[in-house]
């Protein structure tokens, strides 16, 4: 479903350049959930942003569903992958009502004004339809993240890119959001890439985990490795021990 080869991201130029992602390659098959784990600054979010088309400075090749995509995406390519961001406070426009925020992707894809789909989209993520007339500040953090998920799903993309979707939430709310994501994955046969620094969230959600350090993948762990605590690199060992005190 997703294939990435030799992805390189460099910011700045010459002596001030910062090589953030160093030639990473990976593939994700349909319906699979891939986790990427690492410390802040290791380049995990940059990989995701390159996939989503938000990053302009990458080289290498990215293809969705067998078709290569470029730096500038067409509408059809954009529809393939949607993103959910970490901070639900920052990712929703504070002066747009929830309904406007949800209808926006449909309008910008030129598929009508989108209002007819808002109520359904809200119900799918377990929110009442009358929330459409509320503003983001009238919702709790968990509800806002549900809206962000609804907005990502409203175009029915086959791929969902999740950048720390629960790290701003309480554990009890985190459980609700993770369950929602798992349900939607099953219902729509979605392919996920989940980026997080929290190994327990990653191991709950993912079939396969890549451990990232300084812009390269240093380890790959299967679901079984995570359960039994097997690691193949010293860095992932360290991360493992630090996460479970």
């Amino acid at each position: 479903m997703i294939k990435v080869e030799n992805l390189d991201v460099v910011y700045g130029s010459k002596d001030k350049s910062n090589h953030v992602v160093r030639g990473v390659s990976f593939a994700v098959s349909r319906g699979e959930t891939l986790g990427i784990v690492g410390e802040s600054g290791c380049g995990k979010s940059t990989v995701l942003r390159s996939l989503a088309g938000l990053e302009g400075a990458w080289t290498g090749s990215i293809s969705f569903d067998g078709k290569p995509v470029g730096k500038v995406r067409t509408r059809d390519e954009l529809k393939l992958a949607q993103m959910v961001f970490q901070d639900p406070y920052g990712s929703l426009h504070p002066r747009h009502r929830i309904g406007t925020a949800l209808a926006e992707p449909i309008r910008s894809m030129g598929a009508g004004d989108g209002w007819t789909r808002v109520a359904e989209a809200l119900q799918q993520v377990g929110l009442p339809a009358h929330f459409a007339s509320r503003f983001p500040h009238e919702l709790s953090g968990g509800q806002r993240q549900r809206v962000a998920i609804a907005r990502a799903l409203i175009l029915s993309p086959p791929i969902l890119l999740l950048d720390e979707p629960t790290s701003a939430l309480d554990v009890s709310i985190q459980a609700e959001v993770l369950n929602l994501l798992a349900d939607q994955r099953e219902e729509r046969n979605l392919t996920f890439i989940l980026v997080s620094h929290d190994l327990s969230v990653i191991s709950h959600m993912c079939d396969r985990v890549l451990v990232m350090q300084n812009g390269v993948f240093v380890d790959e762990l299967s679901r079984q490795d995570l359960q039994t605590g097997v690691t193949h690199a010293s860095y992932s060992r360290e991360l493992f021990e630090a996460s479970f005190l």
Binding site: V171, S172, L199, S203, H204, M205, Q227, E238
Partner: protein, 281 residues
């Protein structure tokens, strides 16, 4: 004179905090003692855990109504102290370590100036001596090359280092009670452990009491001798081990956390209605 080592550092009975008149209490009837030990306060956002910490420091705004049957620090009531007396206690005898070093350090002063200021204020040493103390303290919190860090500004250091600087500043005066409010939430997992270990080591060395406020029940359980679980402003349970959890809220919290060793297809979510019934019979 009572033996200072025997009596609790802090003793709180029926602490109540309300914001505004006739409003919902943010903290209601919270009672606990802190000896020379580490206790944890756990709860979700809005459970009143940080408000409790701030009420002890008397850092809540004027409009907050704080009442308590007893809130004694080393035997003397905190609520009767004047603002001036509190100013003498804060930082010197009771220290508060906050969540994000980026917001709690002054962005326009060097690390050296800020740590030395703590030394000047609480230890009564001047100029060069204060800088030397600051340097020693930075070395104590395992900052390599403290001389270089002294001349850096807060934006030039990492989050983990910033939190070490905060710990250095707060523990310089050897406070009797340290309140750490989510000290590691803004840090990476790999740095989290180091910061906690460091805090633990210094608190033990000074023989002080520590109140660790966090939402991460597992971390608190691994680190503290006693855990207070707060929900809706009340302490619903006091635990020494996670396995003993009996209250549905605590059990719900533990079950809501994904555990890689026991994978489940769906995580359990909190049943808030049954918790309400249990907490307000």
């Amino acid at each position: 004179m009572p033996d200072l080592d025997e009596m609790p550092v802090l003793s709180v009975r029926d602490l109540n905090v309300r914001f505004g008149r006739n409003s919902i209490p943010a903290v209601s009837n919270v009672s606990f003692d802190v000896g020379r030990e580490r206790i944890g306060i756990v709860g979700e956002s809005g459970s009143g855990k940080s408000t409790t910490g701030r009420a002890i420091m008397r850092l809540l705004p004027q409009r907050a109504g704080v009442t308590a049957e007893r809130m004694d620090f080393l035997g003397s009531p905190l609520l009767e102290k004047t603002e001036r007396q509190m100013g003498g206690l804060r930082g010197k005898d009771i220290a508060l370590i906050m969540q994000d070093p980026r917001y709690s350090l002054n962005p326009v002063l060097t690390i050296g100036k800020q740590v030395a200021e703590a030394a000047k204020l609480h230890l009564g040493v001047g100029g060069k001596d204060a800088v030397a103390r600051a340097r020693d303290m930075l070395a104590r919190v395992r900052i390599n090359d403290p001389d270089r860090v002294l001349s850096l500004y807060p934006h030039q250091i990492s989050g983990g280092m910033g939190q070490r600087v905060m710990i250095a500043m707060m523990l310089l005066a050897r406070p009797k009670l340290v309140i750490a409010d989510e000290p590691t939430s803004a840090l990476d997992v790999s740095v989290r452990k180091d910061v906690l270990m460091l805090l633990d080591e210094l608190v033990r060395e000074n023989n002080s009491g520590l109140i660790l406020i966090s939402h991460d029940i597992r971390m608190v359980a691994a680190f503290c001798e006693r855990i207070l679980v707060m929900y809706n402003g009340r302490v619903v349970e006091t635990l020494s081990r996670l396995e003993d959890a009996a209250h549905p809220y605590t059990r719900g919290l533990i079950a809501a956390m994904p555990d890689p060793k026991h994978p489940v297809r769906r995580l359990k979510v909190l049943d808030r209605k049954s918790i309400e019934v249990e907490t307000n019979p």
